[in-house]
């Protein structure tokens, strides 16, 4: 869908997903790395073999549908080559600390003169300016400052982040939205656009209904383990079963279908079926109206019922009978999840070490212009010769002076 457009990607792990999303949607993405490679090439998990600069699975995961070149932007020749690329580009996305691009002489004010229709997207921790713009930041400290940690985790332990880095993925997927919003405005105004994305606010958005809770209900939401906090009450979500855990929300519709299962297994006596108007149970619970069986008794019985079954047995019975039971999957179980296989989700990718393995597919299915993966993550400087040489017409010496020769 975006095939007429060229995207220049000057990001590292803080923005690579943004440009990959545009690439998956069809844009021609040119990844521009420093001669020593993007910092994300040094982020694990790693392959144990293959060329050293190609071992990062993090880099491999977020750089498909991109061609790759290197440029030394501290050199005049490197910046001159960048400006040549900017002339023909539609988007430039970068994730340098605030002010760094301007100090190099390639900030928005310079680039917009080179290309008056450029959409320039800057991804930073806190934004381009303001009292915290210069703060040092990491995944953990942004998950804290953005509020997510305050509501996440067991109340008897410290607040927690999601155990794997997530912050820059939130920020960079937001940057993709921002890029296309700014592009729409460029089309109508005819002006170059500057976009300032803040990772902190991207994390605030993950708080969902807790974001401004204090101003609405006079108190914050706090971490409550896996309980679902509804504002007026909380319900447990995680139940232990034979081989791990499942996630369920016990509402009236669920109970109507599950109470007979509990009777069938002898967990509760048969009179429970008629003993309650199950479809309205949750509404009466929330409204604090009379209940024949207490919520503690009901949830206790549900917990006893699921305990001897496996995650898969519970999921499959739920699917057959329209009861929403979600297994807490590991990546291993996910890889074996039949639904994804039958939807053709996994793609097969050749890794830099030569192995072929399944990898996550595209993020949406389009009826008219299906998304495809046209190429996997580029090697360091893989397309320098094609882009700097053949497209820009630089000689081998000029490519070298611009830093286009990769590590060498």
């Amino acid at each position: 869908m975006l095939s007429p457009y060229t995207v220049l990607d000057l990001t590292d792990e803080r923005g690579e997903l943004a440009t990959m999303m545009l690439g998956d949607l069809g844009a021609d993405v040119i990844k521009i790395e420093p001669p020593q490679g993007s910092a994300s090439r040094r982020m694990g998990p790693f392959l144990e073999d293959g060329p050293e600069s190609e071992r990062s699975l993090n880099f491999f995961a977020f750089n498909r549908n991109k061609r790759g070149i290197t440029l030394d932007l501290s050199a005049d020749e490197g910046r001159a080559a960048l400006l040549r690329l900017v002339e023909k580009a539609d988007f430039l996305i970068e994730s340098a600390p605030p002010g760094e691009m301007a100090e190099l002489g390639i900030g928005f004010d310079v680039l917009r003169r080179t290309n008056p229709r450029l959409v320039y997207v800057a991804i930073t921790a806190f934004g381009q300016d303001g009292p915290h713009a210069g703060f040092a930041a990491s995944d953990l400290t942004l998950a804290a400052m953005g509020g997510q940690m305050s509501v996440q985790g067991n109340p008897d332990r410290p607040p927690v982040r999601v155990s794997l880095p997530q912050v820059w993925l939130h920020a960079s997927s937001e940057a993709a939205v921002a890029a296309l919003t700014a592009h729409a405005r460029m089309l109508s105004s005819g002006e170059a656009q500057f976009v300032d994305v803040s990772a902190q606010t991207a994390m605030v958005s993950t708080m969902l209904h807790a974001r401004v809770a204090h101003a609405i209900q006079g108190r914050d939401f706090n971490r409550g383990g896996s309980d679902l906090q509804l504002g007026t009450m909380s319900l447990p979500m995680v139940y232990e079963c034979a081989d791990g855990y499942i996630v369920m929300l016990q509402n009236g519709a669920m109970l109507t279908k599950m109470v007979p299962w509990l009777v069938e297994d002898g967990v509760i006596p048969e009179e429970w079926i008629e003993g309650e108007d199950w479809p309205t149970y949750d509404i009466r619970l929330v409204m604090q109206q009379p209940l024949n069986y207490s919520i503690e008794d009901v949830l206790g019985a549900v917990g006893r019922y699921v305990r001897p079954y496996s995650k898969r047995e519970l999921l499959e019975r739920g699917l057959r009978e329209g009861v929403t039971i979600a297994p807490v999957n590991t990546v291993e179980e996910l890889a074996g999840f039949r639904h994804l296989e039958e939807r053709g989700y996994w793609l097969t990718a050749p890794l830099p070490n030569g192995r072929q393995i399944p990898v996550p597919g595209v993020f949406a299915r389009l009826s008219e212009t299906p998304m495809t993966v046209r190429r996997w993550a580029p090697g360091l400087g893989e397309h320098s010769e094609a882009i700097l040489g053949r497209t820009l017409g630089l000689s081998a010496d000029e490519i070298g002076a611009a830093g286009g020769g990769g590590k060498g």
Binding site: P45, G130, S163, L208, V212, Q217, F221, Y345, P360
Partner: protein
Amino acid sequence: MTEQLPFEGVKVADFSWVWVGPTTTRYLADHGATVVRVETQSPPDRMRAMGPYKDGVPGTNRSHAFADFNTSKLGLSLNLKNPAAVEVARRLIAWANVYVESFTPGTMDDLGLGYETARSLNPSIIMASTCLMGQSGPAAAFAGYGFHAGAIAGFYEITGWPDLPPDGPWTAYTDAISPRFLATTIMAALDHRRRTGVGQHIDASQMEIGLQFLAPQIIDFNVSGRVVSRAGNRSETAVPHAAYPCAGDDQWCAIAVETDEQWDALRRALGDPAWADDDRFQTAEGRLSHEEEIDAHLGEWTSSRSPYEVMEILQSAGVPAGVVQRSSDLLRDPQLEHRRFFRYMEHPEMGNVPHTGHQFHISGYDSGPRFPAPLLGQHNETVMREILGMTDEEITEALVAGGIA
């Protein structure tokens, strides 16, 4: 510079509910599109039945869980079980450029409002269908929320403590991720339609979208067989890396020392205490194998100071440190204030309440939100008369038939 908004002139028929669809269309609405949010009283959007409620008092129009996800939209109530309502819905789809729905697969087909019908009414329509598992596959009918998708996608397994059951990410985690991917896709489809006149049906599975955030670990499993699990706040490469207790009730500051330079800066900021001089702590490997000892020392230092004091001291030395902020802290965060992140708007029933703004600023215009979320059915008359061009007679007929409910 002109004040023109990016999506001025774009028309959206929003039949979605809960969070993913409404958040997606909110991007378009806040940035200039005309979005008609279709709801019904029987039953109302689940988010209207979820807190936080203004002053803790429940009510259909008092839920900020609804209000914060539906700004800048017009509200139309249609009971789609009624043929008169389906007729109005068909007019709305004929009017729209973008049609969004988030029901269980097949629901819109059963109502006579599926993609084939939509395309016959409006050949270049962009229809987006989003649900947990996608429109096809053996689990397509799996109807649930973002916490169910979060569990299936693997996020519960990796959030919390290794010695405890999974805590899971906060609430419906994939609902925080999916709208960005879906909005990007719809915006790309709008651009494609502008250039080619060709519409599109988009099938966006929220669980599949969530997997994008675990891609390196999924690939790693397929390569090495390694299975990641929850690890509290531990990092495999950095110590200190935790939330440290501070003075006050349940107050915390997160500190992450990811390089030797940051370790040196931390030592200076603490006033070069003797414990930190230990040879064992001067390399990343050394710090990783003595995490508990380092955490105990650092925690002792933080626990006598407020979290903001800890952050200020460490930040002035260049150490990544961030207060674990609650909603009440965010509402007075000077950086968010500088960005005008929270926007106070007068809601007809909740009064002057803050709404979250956008995570990005685009130069040259105020990026919204533009006006508060609709009350249930607030714009029925406006939408039917002014947008759909229905006559008085037609409107009366639809009302009498019970469709506008």
